[in-house]
């Protein structure tokens, strides 16, 4: 019998390592490896917290195609003229420099859950012990007949911030006097429930200053929407007569568009418009589907640690996850990421794991210094993330309260982006 010395050493190392951390080091590599796909509110936060709190004990790789990340939150304020695009742009330099995160600007194109590897478009294959998917949203194909991603330069969605936001704003600025802006609002569930209605508010703000005879038409498949009473009160107060919303009772769910002709057909009523903002129905970012962790449009997760119901070594955060009661928001993704980061560190290094707590608050701006908010706290139950307690701004609040709420949202923006990127 020959006993290969090199192999013996390797086996010996593995055995020794197994004693300290059985789940991870059994295959003989050095530190446990976490791969995070998606550098938004979920992914950037998870990568940062795992790297920061494990103090180098975990090898963290963050895969994100963009070098500059534009937050969706506050992109409506850019459209309204309350912030610049560069103020909502963030880069990944501090995550690499301060926390040693390996930031890879590439597309993840495949996940092999048996081999525990992620393939990138550039050809790199990344092995992982724990995989965190935070890919955000993609659009459901043919959700709005006549519209496809190929038409997004004629009829922008502007529901992923950056060049789409810039395009939509340019189109609004170029509207003729007395022109028409149309929005096709999405069905539930979708990213940022108050987002379409904050956007309507910001478009109305711009038009009321530059083009006050212009009109806004909203085709909406939902009978009700987030903060509806607050928005409708604000629209009446600030933009009376400018905004018309057509709900499902009047055909708002039966919409087709023609991007070449710039027409929108709402239940047989055809309107020619100058700008058409189509926000289609949504689903988890494509890589979640490729990884085989989706059920229908979204990826079901366990509330206690955000792990996929299909694979305990894959976690799904933010908009892509089907988790229960939390809205799909950047705040929610940031909150979920911290719970996930704690659970992943616990599994890989044995660090202490505390009970999961989740929070969300969504601020919206209706007009200058007229901010409103809605929020809740949540806990993990055996079948979902369940709401514990919540609050919402009230109609008829005084101007000082609304101004303070807006200023609070500016403070929150600074807080959360620091918590993600700095």
């Amino acid at each position: 019998m020959t006993f290969n010395r090199r192999k013996f050493i390797a086996v010996g190392t593995a055995a020794a390592a197994t004693l300290s951390s059985p789940a991870v080091l059994a295959d003989g590599h050095g530190k446990p490896r976490v791969v995070v796909i998606g550098g938004g509110s979920g992914g950037a936060t998870a990568a940062r917290y795992i790297a920061k709190d494990s103090k180098g004990a975990i090898n963290v790789t963050l895969v994100e195609p963009s070098r500059s990340y534009f937050t969706c939150y506050f992109s409506n304020l850019y459209i309204g003229g309350f912030t610049d695009l560069e103020d909502i742009s963030h880069t990944y330099g501090a995550l690499a420099a301060k926390y040693g995160i390996n930031v890879v600007h590439d597309w993840a194109v495949d996940v092999d859950r048996d081999a525990k590897t992620v393939s990138l478009a550039g050809g790199t294959v990344l092995p992982y012990d724990k995989l965190i998917l935070s890919p955000g949203i993609d659009f459901v194909e043919d959700a709005v007949p006549g519209w496809s991603v190929a038409a997004q330069n004629k009829m922008p969605h502007a529901y992923k911030a950056g060049s789409q936001s810039e395009l939509l704003k340019a189109q609004i600025m170029a509207m003729p006097e007395g022109g028409r802006f149309a929005m096709v609002a999405p069905p539930n569930p979708y990213r940022c429930p108050p987002g379409p209605y904050e956007r309507i508010s910001m478009v109305a703000h711009v038009l009321s200053q530059m083009n006050p005879t212009a009109k806004i038409l909203v085709a909406d498949p939902k009978p009700n929407f987030s903060k509806q009473a607050l928005f409708e009160e604000g629209w009446q107060r600030h933009y009376s007569g400018m905004i018309e919303r057509i709900g499902p009772d009047f055909g708002g769910a039966n919409v087709t568009v023609d991007p070449e002709a710039m027409t929108i057909d709402i239940d047989g009523m055809v309107e020619t418009v100058d700008v058409c903002n189509v926000i289609p129905a949504q689903k988890a970012g494509r890589i979640a589907d490729m990884a085989g962790v989706t059920d229908g449009n979204w990826a079901p997760v366990n509330a206690a640690d955000m792990s996929s119901k299909a694979d305990p070594d894959v976690h799904v955060l933010g908009d892509a996850a089907a988790q229960g009661d939390m809205p799909k928001s950047g705040f929610a993704a940031n909150s979920q990421a911290k719970v996930c980061a704690m659970a992943v560190r616990g599994a890989l290094t044995g660090s202490k794991v505390f009970p999961a707590k989740f929070t969300n608050t969504c601020w919206s701006l209706i007009a200058e210094d007229d901010g409103v908010k809605v929020g809740a706290t949540y806990e993990a139950t055996s079948d979902k993330i369940a709401k514990v307690d919540g609050f919402i701004s009230q109609t008829g609040e005084d101007a000082a309260t609304r101004k303070a709420t807006y200023e609070e949202s500016v403070g929150w923006y600074a807080g959360i982006t620091t918590d993600m990127f700095d």
């Binding site: 917290y49 912030t83 103020d87 705040f331 940031n334 909150s335 911290k338 704690m342 202490k352 505390f354 707590k357 929070t359 608050t361 908010k373 929020g375 809740a376 706290t377 514990v388 307690d389 919540g390 609050f391 303070a404 200023e407 609070e408 949202s409 500016v410 403070g411 929150w412 923006y413 600074a414 807080g415 959360i416 620091t418 918590d419």
Partner: protein, 233 residues
Amino acid sequence: MRALLPALTLAAVMVAGGARAELIGDAEAGEAQFNQCKGCHQIGKGAEDRIGPHLNGLFGRRAAAHEDYRYSDSMERAGVDGLIWDLRTLDAYIENPRALVSKTRMSYRGLKDEQARADLLAYLRRFSDNPANIPEAAPTAIGTDHSVDPEILAIQGDPEYGEYLSSECVSCHQADGSADGIPSITRWPEEDFVVAMHAYKDKLRPHPVMQMMAGRLSNEEIAALAAYFKDLD
């Protein structure tokens, strides 16, 4: 949202504020104005640094001059750059704190009314011997409302647990202590922190988000957060 260079902001404010700064106000009216400062600042006999530095001897003092008080980096820098507190600079600071010191920890929205600022400054001047002809005034009421059970105040918080719990706080409150629309919560005396959180928990303080957040924190969790944020740099 992007902070301007502090030096530029300072210069601009001082030019803008120069014309109106010499208005001398009514110290009696200023005493009433000071009520909104009392939550953080003490003044008069026995005043100490609490959430904010005490304000005795403020006039003529360099910014960030109390050795034992931990100021924001921005305030420290303003002091190094030569910011001296006088009628003009205090007027600008109280009108809009963040316009003068961009990342100050003073979570105050600013006092827009010029007369109210002049009154407040007249009151504050009573507690400065610089200029020397200002008479010393009687001490004012100091301290916070200690309605919290002493047993709760006596709980020793676990800062490690506080660090975990803090991840919920820093989605909004900045860990570096800067205050911009949302107050700073770092470096507070533990007792003040605990008293404030219980005031939210008991719905004495009005803010709905904080009522909700504090509402589900246990006494031990509040103590842990106080212990953690006390020493956060």
